[in-house]
Each structure stands twice: as structure tokens, then as C-alpha cells.
């Protein structure tokens, strides 16, 4: 299910049936149904202008572009079946599509307004794993699969700007993120390091390691700690710890708070199975804060910890160690505020001022499986199994909550 970019239409795709239904908000009686038939449906998404729907057929045979304006259909052949094969620029003008023909990788750049092919070039990759546009829309990052560490940077007109490869033979790139100012490209790899490339020379500026033992006294380590529930008493105002944790009252379930652990400290590590594919190691999650000051990462070896790096000073700023493995984190779109969820019934917020652990109120357990910020940065949607919760963040740091039931269909 997906909203169109102008919030006028909602797309509902049923992959099993190969059907896509579009509903209009303005005109409730308007409807549209797209049937891929025997071609099948693997993925469906809106184009940035909100008037075209791109369906990826089964086996990645082709990408069908259905136009809602003209009822026309366009086909794009040989799309690549990879992690992140399709990418739109932020302004929605261009789309980059990874293709594979004759065992070679290609990238096609389309103009979204009329779906004309702008550029088509081959890439020097073994097995292209993903493409991503820089936020300024002028540079396209293309990276290879994890068997080879290679990142290629192409300009909008298809010229190869630079190639970067940190090492050979070991497992390579796991995740890639652009900084919102397009100044840095962060590459997280299986060796547990993040490498920052700068946009001027496309050479590595620095690399951040994720060791299990933290010894630098300048980094602050917040450790989530179970607070023993007060016996029988409902409301207790406990003295706030230095981390500024103010837990919610109504300790129905166990509460937790953050406490500052003293350095040197060693984090819990997970030994990945060496003989399996896609091992749980390396930097799997990367996210820049909206002002490009901070980079939040997660090393899959140490799944309970979120590492926040200060990009201004290029060093580790804060480590947040949770009790459960971190499922996802997302930055507030407006300010450097990070929301983390671990699948427990709490959502964790971190900002340079401090961090807080907020329990989702309600009866029973509410496992927070995913979260999503509102674009204004005022509210946060927490998604559970079949419930979701809206979290309002006011400037006075009070947290309110509103409940809703999540539709089980999608």
C-alpha cells in the first residue's frame, strides 16, 4: 500500500493476485484497477509525480509503467532483480533503473515526466546490488554485491566520476547512505566499518570502526537498564538519573531507564555463523541526521547498540545500548532526534541533549516493530503487530499518545 506523492491517491497492490487498485481521496467513487494477469506482480510503486504506477512483474521480466493520465503503458525490459534496483531523485525528475543484459549490468536514467530514456550506460560491476541518487540529484551511487567491495559514482549525464574499493575478497558493502547535504556518502561494510567519502574528491575521508570495547572517555555510553518495578505502588517519582531519563509512571510492566555507563566498557557481541550466507555482521543500518551532523549506525555483530557519530568532529559521539536487539531507527526529519525501537513496548528517543525511554501506554504489551516520523517532526507513528500508536512530541518534552488499530490487510 502506498500513498501517491501528492497525497491524492492510494495504491493497493495484491502481489498474489497480480492486482493493483488505486483509490482517490478527492473523489471517493473514482477507482482504478490494474491487472497484470499472467505476468504476475512482484513490486508496485508510484512515480514521483503521482500519476504513474510502476509494476515489476514476476521474475523481473519487465517494469510496466501505467499512466493514469493517458491510460498508456510503457515497458522497460530487463530490470535487475536486486536489493535496490530503482531509485528516484529527490525532486522526482529522474529515475535510475538497474538493468542486466547479457550478463552485464547497465543503468538507465529515465526522465519521469515523459518516461524517455535519458542515459543508458554500463557499469563495471560484477553483480550490481543497488543504486541511490544523491539528494542533490546530480550523482548516482552504484554499488556491487557483497562479494566485491566496489562503489561507482556516476554523474547525472552518465559519466563515471569515481570508483572506490576499500579491499578485496572479503565480504563487501552492506549498506549505503547519502548525507542530506550530498557532501558525504557513508558506506557500511561487512568488516564492521563505515567509510565516509567526500563529494569533492570521492576519496575516503575517514573510517569509523565499531569495536566491541569502547575506551575513549569522550564518548558517552547510555545503557538501558531495567528498573525494578515498585512493589505494589502505582506512582513513584524516582530520582532522575544523569542521563535525564524520566520514565513514565503507571509501571504496569517493567520500566527501564538509561544510565550512563562509565568508559571503558564492552558491549554484547553476537558471533555470526561462519558457514552461512549473509552473516549477521557488518554495518547493516546507516542513517544521517537531517542536518548532516550525526550518523547513526548499527553493527550487526552488536545488535543491541546504536552508534551515533559526530560528523563535524568525525568521531564517535554516543553509544546507546539497549536490552533487546535494535529493530529500526529513524531520524526526525526536522531536527537531530533519533527514535529507536527494539520490538519491546518502549520507544527510545535520543537527542544531543539526552535520551529517554518511553513506554507505550496501553493494556498489555505493545511490541513496537517499526516506527515512522511525520515530516514535520512533531509526531511519530509506532507500528505494532496489529495496532499502531501515534506519539506526539511537544516542545516541552511531554509525550502524549493516541491509539489506533492497524489494518491487518497490508
Amino acid at each position: 500500500m502506498e500513498w501517491s506523492a501528492d497525497s491524492l491517491f492510494i495504491l493497493c497492490a495484491m502481489y498474489k493476485r497480480g492486482l493493483v487498485q488505486v483509490w482517490s481521496l478527492e473523489q471517493p467513487e473514482w477507482h482504478c484497477k490494474i491487472d497484470e494477469g499472467s505476468a504476475g506482480l512482484v513490486a508496485s510503486c508510484w512515480s514521483p509525480d503521482g500519476r504513474h504506477i510502476l509494476n515489476t512483474t514476476e521474475f523481473h521480466l519487465r517494469v510496466t509503467v501505467w499512466s493514469l493520465c493517458t491510460k498508456s503503458v510503457s515497458y522497460i525490459k530487463y530490470p535487475k532483480a536486486c536489493q535496490q534496483g530503482m531509485a528516484f531523485t529527490r525532486d522526482g525528475r529522474y529515475m535510475a533503473l538497474a538493468e542486466r543484459r547479457d550478463c552485464k549490468d547497465f543503468v538507465s536514467i529515465f526522465v519521469c515526466s515523459d518516461w524517455q530514456l535519458l542515459r543508458h550506460f554500463d557499469t563495471d560491476t560484477q553483480d550490481l546490488a543497488g543504486v541511490e541518487w544523491a539528494p542533490n540529484g546530480c550523482v548516482l551511487a552504484v554499488w556491487d554485491s557483497c562479494l566485491e567491495y566496489k562503489v561507482l559514482l556516476y554523474s547525472l549525464d552518465g559519466r563515471l566520476l569515481s570508483v572506490y574499493s576499500a579491499y578485496e575478497w572479503s565480504l563487501g558493502i552492506k549498506s549505503v547512505a547519502w548525507s542530506p547535504s550530498s557532501q558525504f556518502l557513508a558506506i557500511g561494510s561487512y568488516d564492521g566499518k563505515v567509510r565516509l567519502l567526500n563529494h569533492v574528491t570521492w576519496k575516503m575521508t575517514t573510517e569509523f570502526g565499531h569495536p566491541a570495547a569502547i575506551s575513549n572517555p569522550k564518548t558517552v555510553v547510555y545503557r538501558e537498564v531495567e528498573k525494578s518495578p515498585p512493589p505494589g505502588l502505582g506512582h513513584l517519582s524516582l530520582p532522575p538519573s544523569r542521563a535525564g531519563a524520566r520514565p513514565l509512571t503507571n509501571a504496569a510492566a517493567s520500566e527501564s531507564k538509561y544510565e550512563v555507563a562509565s568508559v571503558p566498557i564492552s558491549l554484547q557481541t553476537l558471533k555470526p555463523a561462519a558457514d552461512r550466507a549473509n552473516p549477521r555482521m557488518g554495518v547493516g543500518m546507516l542513517a544521517f541526521s537531517p542536518d548532516s551532523y550525526f550518523l547513526a549506525t548499527r553493527n550487526d555483530n552488536i545488535p543491541n547498540a546504536v552508534w551515533v557519530w559526530d560528523i563535524q568532529k568525525l568521531r564517535l559521539f554516543v553509544v546507546l545500548e539497549q536490552l533487546c536487539p535494535v529493530r529500526s531507527f529513524q531520524w526526525d526529519p526536522q531536527q537531530p532526534r533519533l527514535a529507536i525501537c527494539t520490538g519491546g513496548n518502549k520507544v527510545y528517543l535520543w537527542s544531543p541533549a539526552g535520551c529517554v525511554s518511553v513506554q507505550v501506554p496501553g493494556e498489555g504489551d505493545f511490541p513496537v516493530l517499526a516506527l515512522c516520523w511525520h515530516s514535520s517532526g512533531d509526531s511519530l507513528a509506532l507500528l505494532g503487530k496489529d495496532h499502531f500508536c501515534l506519539c506526539f512530541l511537544e516542545t516541552s518534552k511531554d509525550v502524549g499518545a493516541a491509539f489506533g488499530r492497524r489494518d491487518s490487510c497490508t
Partner: protein
């Protein structure tokens, strides 16, 4: 015969040998000698001695002895035979000589033996010592040999290990290389396989695609109620070459915009950095230039360089501003000048560091010692002061406490208060008494002085009267009346002058009192003078002189009280009064000479 046998030296072996059984043949005796040679006999000596020669075999023993002695080279014991058949007589002298000789020999032999024995012992001990040394050295040698062997063994083992490790390392490296090669080959193999499989897959996909496309069943359709307008409200446009070109143009425009934006940013950054560099350079120059005062060559050089650089930079700056900062040469010049300045600054700082370190090294110990001593002294002083202050505070506190504690008792407090002031009071009293005494003394003195002055005045008056009378008499004696008025006038003038003179030194107060009396007095005097004055100018002059002197003396007298110390107020007053007193007294007395 038995006597001299027993006298023989019991230690001697030879004699004992000889004094063995004489009944035996010489050969047996000899054999016995051999047997008994090593055993010094003491107890059996007598028996031996007596065994050799008994009373029966004297002649035999003598002959035997003679034989033995002659064989040894001694002279014969017998006397020289007179005839062949005559009995050989014992030459006692010879016997005695032989005995003496034998004794001497014996002694010599004994000495020699002793020497030899001692030497033997010495040699034996030396030998033992050497042998032990030898044994020790041998042991040491053995031990060191064993050690060497051990070390050699160890060295060998270690070398073996080293070689093994090297070998292992090489093996490992080779293995690593091999594995890498294997990986590479496997990768290529997998790639090849994957490509093959991919081709197959593509073929399948194509086939499927064809099938799907061919089917063209109605299912693949879009069912839209009505067309939706475009997001931006425009109509759709056909795909033509123009649109393509337009797209290209747009794309290039976007790229160019981005590049321009970035270039602007970079230019701005550049400008800022250049500004910073310029500022740094200026500051460095300003830092270095005040060092002109230090008379060092390098400093001069640097300042010289600085000055020249400043001039250069001045020109440069103007040039730079003209040329818009992006010129290559200008940039190079700027960086070069900055580097130069930085080097100069660095060398300067290093020099200062060296200086400081030298000073520290040289004078550090002394300074340290001195300063420490001073410091210690000062600290001691301060500590003493602190202690004293503390003690004072304590005592004061105690006193205060006492005061506070005993404040309730009035008498005691008053007493206490009094006792604090008692000393002072007594002192004051003493001083007051002293002061009073002094005052009394002063009063007394003043009175005495006044009395003395009065007496003096009276005496003077008397004296004046006497003189006046005497002078009058003289004048009366001398008859001189032919002096004209000029003389009188002269005298008058002189007198007036003198009276004026007289008036001048007198106190103003007296003058106020005086004038009427003097004015009265003087005409009277002059009139009297005209009558009675003699004509001789000398007399007059001398009189005037005397008058003048008198006046002067009077004036002197009047002056002196004024010259007296003003703090003796009383005295002055008395002197003034005394002068006043003298005046009226003097005048009537000196009416002739008109004072």
C-alpha cells in the same frame, strides 16, 4: 771399653749398626745394617752398642773397625808397626780423632738430613698444593667445556626453531597465496557458471515474456473510470526528438546548476581561507617585528626579511585585490610567504626554547637552591608570625572571655578598668608633678631675673645720675658760652637725631607712650642745652657719641630683650617695662645732654 760404647749418640744409625752383634761376620753385619737403616732405635741402642764389642772380641772389633775406617778414608787406628811380627797397638789419638771426625760427620749428616727433610716437606706441600690447583683447574676446565657444549646445544636448538618458524611462516605465506589464488580461480569459475546460468535464465525469461506478450489476454489491462489530470495540470506531450533534446537540455542545466553552486561554495571557502591566511601572516609579522631590539644577527636577518616581506606583501595585496584571488602565481606567492613567516616564527620559538632550557640548566640548580632557601626562610618567618599572631589572638580571646565572664561583677570591673588606667594615671601624675616643678623653677628664675633687671635698672639710674652730675660739674667748670645757635641747632639736630635714633629701636608700644614725654623732654633739654652746653665740638661729638653710645647701649639693651627667646614671655615683658622705667628715669637725669 764399655764406657765409650755407651756414650755414643743413640740417634746415630751408623754407630748402632756398628755396635750390633760383633760375633757376626761383616756381611751379616752389613745385611743387618740394611735392615735396620730406617729405624731409629733408642731403646735397643745400648744392647746394640754392647752387642758389637764385648770384652772377648776387642781385638777383632778393633781390627774390624780399622778396616772399615780405612776403607772410608780415615787414618788407621793402629800405630805404625815397628816390626812385622809385633802386635798392632791401638793409636788412641787416631781413635779419638776418628771418633771426632765421625761425630762431626754425623752432625753434618744430621743437619743435611734435617735440611733435606724440611726441603722434602716443603716440596711435598708444594706438590700437594700444585696438585690440588691442578685438580681444581681441571675441574673448571671440564665445567666450562660442558657449559660451552650446553650453550652450543641450545644455540643450535634455537637456530633450528628459528629456521622452523621461518619455514612455517613461509609455508603460511605460500598457503595464503595459494588460497588467494584458489579464491580467485573459484570466483572466476563461479562467475562463469553464474553467467551461464544467467543466460539460461534469460532465455527462459525471454520465452516467458514472449508467451506472456503473445497471450495478450484481456486480463492485462487497466480499468480506469476516467482519466486523471496530470499533476501539474499540463497536457501530455508527444515523444519527439524535440522532447528528447529538451530533456537533455534540462539535464545539463541541472548539472550545470549544481556545479555552479558547488563552485560558488568552494570559492567562498577559498576566499575565507585566504583571508585567514593573510591575517595569520600579518599577525606573524607583527609578532616577529618587535624583536628588532634584541641585538642578534638572526633577528636582524629575520626582521630584514620581515620588512622586505612586508613591503612585498603590501604590493602583493594591492595586486591581489586587483587580480581577483584565483591567480595561480598569486596563490603560490601567498602560500610561500606564509611558509616563510611560519619558518621564521618556528625558528624564533625554538631559539627561545633553547634559551629557556639553557637558562634553566645553568642557573636552575642555584636559583632553585637559593629560591628554596629564601622560600624556606620566608616560610619559617611567616610561620613564626602566624604562631605569634595566633598566640596573641588566643590571649586576647582569653582576656575577652575573662572580661565577658566577669562582666557581671561591677567592682571587679571597675577595679579592672581602673587597674588598666592606673599605670597611666600614675605616669601622668608624675609628669604633672614634674611639669609643676619645672613651672615653679621657671617662675623663680623669672622673678629673679626681673629683680635683677630692676636692680640693674636702679643701678643704672644711679650711675646715670652720677654721670650727669659729674658732667654738669665739668660743664660748669668750663666756661663756654660763645657758641651760636648753629651748634645748638647741631646739637639739637644731633640730639633730635639721636632721640630719633633712640626712638627707632624702641618698641612701637613704648613709642606710643614715649612721644609726648620725649617731645616734652627734648625741647626742655634743648633749652637747657642752649644754656649750658659747652662750645667744643669734640666734646659735643664725643658727648653725642657717648650719648649715641649710651643710646646705642640703651638700644642695645632694649634690643637684647627683644632678641631674647620669645618663649620666655614673662622676661620680655619685664624687660620692656624695665626700659620704660629707665626712660623717665633717664630723662630727668640727663636733662643737660638732652637724651
Amino acid at each position: 771399653m764399655g764406657d765409650w760404647m755407651t756414650v755414643t749418640d743413640p740417634e746415630s744409625q751408623n754407630i748402632s749398626l756398628y755396635t750390633s752383634e760383633t760375633k757376626m761376620s761383616p756381611s751379616s753385619l752389613y745385611s743387618q745394617q740394611v735392615l735396620c737403616s730406617s729405624i731409629p732405635l733408642s731403646k735397643n741402642v745400648h744392647s746394640f752398642f754392647s752387642a758389637f764389642c764385648t770384652e772377648e772380641n776387642i781385638e777383632q772389633s778393633i781390627s774390624y773397625l780399622d778396616q772399615e775406617l780405612t776403607t772410608f778414608g780415615f787414618p788407621s787406628l793402629y800405630e805404625e808397626p815397628k816390626s812385622k811380627e809385633a802386635k798392632k797397638e791401638l793409636n788412641i789419638v787416631a781413635v779419638l780423632n776418628c771418633m771426632n771426625e765421625l761425630l762431626v760427620l754425623q752432625r753434618k749428616n744430621l743437619l743435611a738430613q734435617e735440611n733435606v727433610e724440611t726441603q722434602n716437606l716443603k716440596l711435598g706441600s708444594d706438590m700437594d698444593h700444585l696438585q690440588s690447583c691442578y685438580a681444581k683447574l681441571k675441574e673448571q676446565l671440564e665445567a666450562s667445556r660442558r657449559e660451552i657444549i650446553g650453550l652450543q646445544e641450545r644455540d643450535r636448538q634455537l637456530q633450528c626453531k628459528n629456521r622452523n618458524l621461518h619455514q612455517l611462516l613461509k609455508n603460511e605465506k605460500d598457503e595464503v597465496q595459494k588460497l588467494q589464488n584458489i579464491i580467485a580461480s573459484r570466483a572466476t569459475q563461479y562467475n562463469h557458471d553464474m553467467k551461464r546460468k544467467e543466460r539460461e535464465y534469460n532465455k527462459l525469461k525471454e520465452r516467458l515474456h514472449q508467451l506472456v506478450m503473445n497471450k495478450k489476454d484481456k486480463k492485462i489491462a487497466m480499468d480506469v473510470l476516467n482519466y486523471v489530470g496530470r499533476a501539474d495540470g499540463k497536457r501530455g506531450s508527444w515523444r519527439t526528438g524535440k522532447t528528447e533534446a529538451r530533456n537533455e537540455d534540462e539535464m545539463y542545466k541541472i548539472l550545470l546548476n549544481d556545479y555552479e553552486y558547488r563552485q560558488k561554495q568552494i570559492l567562498m571557502e577559498n576566499a575565507e581561507l585566504k583571508k585567514v591566511l593573510q591575517q595569520m601572516k600579518k599577525e606573524m609579522i607583527s609578532l616577529l617585528s618587535p624583536q628588532k631590539k634584541t641585538p642578534r644577527e638572526r633577528a636582524d636577518e629575520s626582521t630584514g626579511a620581515v620588512i622586505s616581506d612586508v613591503e612585498e606583501d603590501g604590493g602583493e595585496l594591492s595586486r591581489e585585490s586587483m587580480w581577483d584571488l584565483s591567480c595561480e602565481t598569486v596563490r603560490e606567492q601567498l602560500t610561500n610567504s606564509i611558509r616563510k613567516q611560519w619558518r621564521i616564527l618556528k625558528s624564533h620559538v625554538e631559539k627561545l626554547d633553547n634559551q629557556v632550557s639553557k637558562v634553566n640548566l645553568e642557573g636552575f640548580n642555584d636559583e632553585d637552591v637559593i629560591s628554596r632557601q629564601d622560600h624556606e626562610q620566608e616560610t619559617e618567618k611567616l610561620e613564626l608570625e602566624i604562631q605569634q599572631c595566633k598566640e596573641m589572638i588566643k590571649t586576647q580571646q582569653q582576656l575577652l572571655q575573662q572580661q565577658l565572664a566577669t562582666a557581671c561583677d561591677d567592682d571587679t570591673t571597675s577595679l579592672l578598668r581602673d587597674c588598666y588606667l592606673l599605670e597611666e594615671k600614675e605616669r601622668l601624675k608624675e609628669e604633672w608633678s614634674l611639669f609643676k616643678e619645672q613651672k615653679k623653677n621657671f617662675e623663680r628664675e623669672r622673678r629673679s631675673f626681673t629683680e635683677a633687671a630692676i636692680r640693674l635698672g636702679l643701678e643704672r639710674k644711679a650711675f646715670e645720675e652720677e654721670r650727669a652730675s659729674w658732667l654738669k660739674q665739668q660743664f660748669l667748670n668750663m666756661t663756654t658760652f660763645d657758641h651760636p645757635n648753629s651748634e645748638n641747632v647741631k646739637l639739637f639736630s644731633a640730639f633730635s637725631g639721636s632721640s630719633d635714633q633712640d626712638n627707632l629701636p624702641v618698641h612701637s608700644k613704648q613709642r606710643q607712650k614715649k612721644p609726648p614725654s620725649t617731645s616734652n623732654g627734648s625741647p626742655v633739654c634743648t633749652s637747657k642745652m642752649t644754656k649750658s652746653l659747652p662750645a667744643s665740638p669734640t666734646l659735643d661729638s664725643c658727648q653725642t657719641r657717648s650719648c649715641v653710645s649710651e643710646h646705642s647701649s640703651v638700644s642695645v639693651l632694649t634690643v637684647t630683650p627683644e632678641e631674647m627667646k620669645p618663649d620666655q614671655v614673662g622676661r620680655e615683658c619685664t624687660s620692656q617695662t624695665w626700659s620704660v622705667v629707665s626712660r623717665p628715669g633717664a630723662q630727668p637725669g640727663c636733662s643737660v645732654d638732652a637724651l
